[in-house]
């Protein structure tokens, strides 16, 4: 479960204060133990552990049995990137009869994937981590789009090229998982980078 890669990539987000990629300690999930990145999931022996925030403290959840959950993503795409970060978008639909909260996202093509939202702060749109994940009411959809709610891929492990298929595993707060596909697309906008010289506003 340990990876040298993660240890060397550890970065802290200047906007949200959390690690952009998991630190080595995150890779050994122990229920109740501290973790550094909300939304991070680790699955061991058919149990998924979530890095959750409770009263400002990040700890690993108890192991949740993995099951399939009826979440679909249509119109899924991901912005091209050679290294670093990228954004993934699409329309997520909750096909179940209960509200569902997506608390973790994982991809083999990124060290970590976070759920992000755009919010108005001091008159400017800024991006911040969605601490408690995306909640989608029963039967409803959530649009992920540049400049709005989106998935942020951190630590791209292999360049995302035009026409590539990427698979993302969405994990819900109850341990349900759904794997969805997105396609690599050329896109000039959505430059959602954390920039040390520009700590508040994101360029539109």
């Amino acid at each position: 479960m340990r990876s040298k890669l993660f240890a060397t990539l550890a970065l802290t987000c200047l906007l949200c204060g959390f690690n952009l990629v998991p630190v080595a300690a995150d890779m050994t999930a122990m229920p109740g133990a501290k973790c550094s990145m909300p939304g991070m999931t680790v699955t061991v022996a058919k149990l998924t552990y979530l890095c959750q925030s409770k009263a400002g403290v990040l700890t690993w959840s108890t192991g949740l049995p993995v099951s399939k959950v009826a979440i679909t993503l249509t119109d899924g795409w991901v912005k091209l990137a050679t290294t670093g970060m990228s954004g993934a978008f699409g329309i997520v639909k909750n096909n179940t009869k209960n509200a569902v909260t997506i608390v973790g996202v994982a991809s083999a093509r990124a060290a970590a994937v976070q759920t992000h939202e755009m919010v108005m702060k001091n008159g400017a749109m800024v991006m911040q981590m969605k601490m408690d994940g995306f909640t989608i009411p029963a039967g409803k959809t959530l649009e992920l789009k540049p400049g709005g709610n989106h998935l942020m891929l951190m630590g791209i492990t292999k360049p995302i090229k035009a026409g590539d298929y990427l698979y993302l595993t969405l994990t819900t707060s109850t341990g349900g998982q759904a794997t969805v596909r997105v396609i690599g697309k050329v896109f000039a906008g959505g430059n959602e980078t954390y920039d040390t010289s520009n700590t508040t506003a994101m360029k539109p």
């Binding site: 795409w77 912005k79 035009a162 026409g163 298929y165 697309k185 050329v186 896109f187």
Partner: protein, 395 residues
Amino acid sequence: MSDHSGISRRSLLVGSGAAGVAGASIGYFGKKSSAVQSMTEVAKIGFYGVHQSGIENTPGLISNFVAFDLIDPTKANLQSVLRLFTDDAARLTQGKPALADGAPELAVNPANLTMTLGVGPSLFTRVPRLPSKPEFFNEIPAFPNDQLDPKWSGSDFIIQFCCDDSLTLSHAVGMIAKDLSTLAQVRWIQTGARSDKPAFSGTTSVRNLMGQVEGSDNPLPGNPIFNSLVWINEGPQWAKDGTILILRRIQMLMDKWEILDRSAQEMVIGRRLDNGAALGNKVENEPVNFEATDTLGLPLISANAHIRLAHGASLSERIYRRPYNYDNGIVDGKRDLGLIFAAFTSNPVTSYLPIQGRLAQSDSLNKWITAIGSSTYLILPGCTENSYIGETLFT
């Protein structure tokens, strides 16, 4: 576009037996005499199917033939091109924005947009480990009178865009060019246009810029003869239900043509200009009698008349023509215009090559036309919603 007659071009053509039309029976120019058009009447042509669209259906009024070369000719990159093309075409032809569409508002009026992809013979030499191509699919050799310019000839693949709205067409071409920009570069683009109306009511023939009738004796989409003449049914399985596009850019030498008087122009072709009837006939679509003679016993249709030489020596020697006109205006004081000859055949070796061989040898028309571009592409079979165009190359 000031047609307020209430009769659309499409309803005319659909009525003529073009059974392959997949949709688009609504006259979107409106039934009322009003400058305000409804946006609710959307003319679109289905994308998925056994065959790609853009062949059987009524051609859009304007076209772009966009030729691409792969930047890095790998199988993976080709696959990416085909996935992106399919995803974009499936959306844009239905009036939906592409994914990551920078101007989604320009996608809402599909205007009978079709997007059709074909692969060139060069692809099979450049991309390693592709399945082999059909034996009958090769570059078309240059014919004796051709003056082929590389800027109009050949490429790894082509996308034919046909549409009734220039804004929609521009958007679709731009979207594809952007999406493929990291994988392929545009080698050339040929833009074309067709008349809004057929040359004669109840036919699919259209006039070209010389005033001649194009498409007489075309096999009609949807009937069994068309199917066997156009759709590939032999050779490797991946190409089945595809077709071969012959694309030639034919410059018309208008200054010289206009020196001829009308009867001489008709002799060159072997048809009357006004009603399109073969000389000796009364209407366009009558079977041509090549033995007919005048009172002096001379053949009405001369030995070198265009239609005599173009006429197939056997039933298999026919092609489906779907041409467009091009006009670049006045260049160096001369009109620069001609025909984008686009024809489809299941086997060019047994159809197009013998026809063009005869025409190149002795067609009277050769004095007034010159082929300046020549390409051929294998139009891949169609696909279902769960696959992509060209998937058969990878299975």
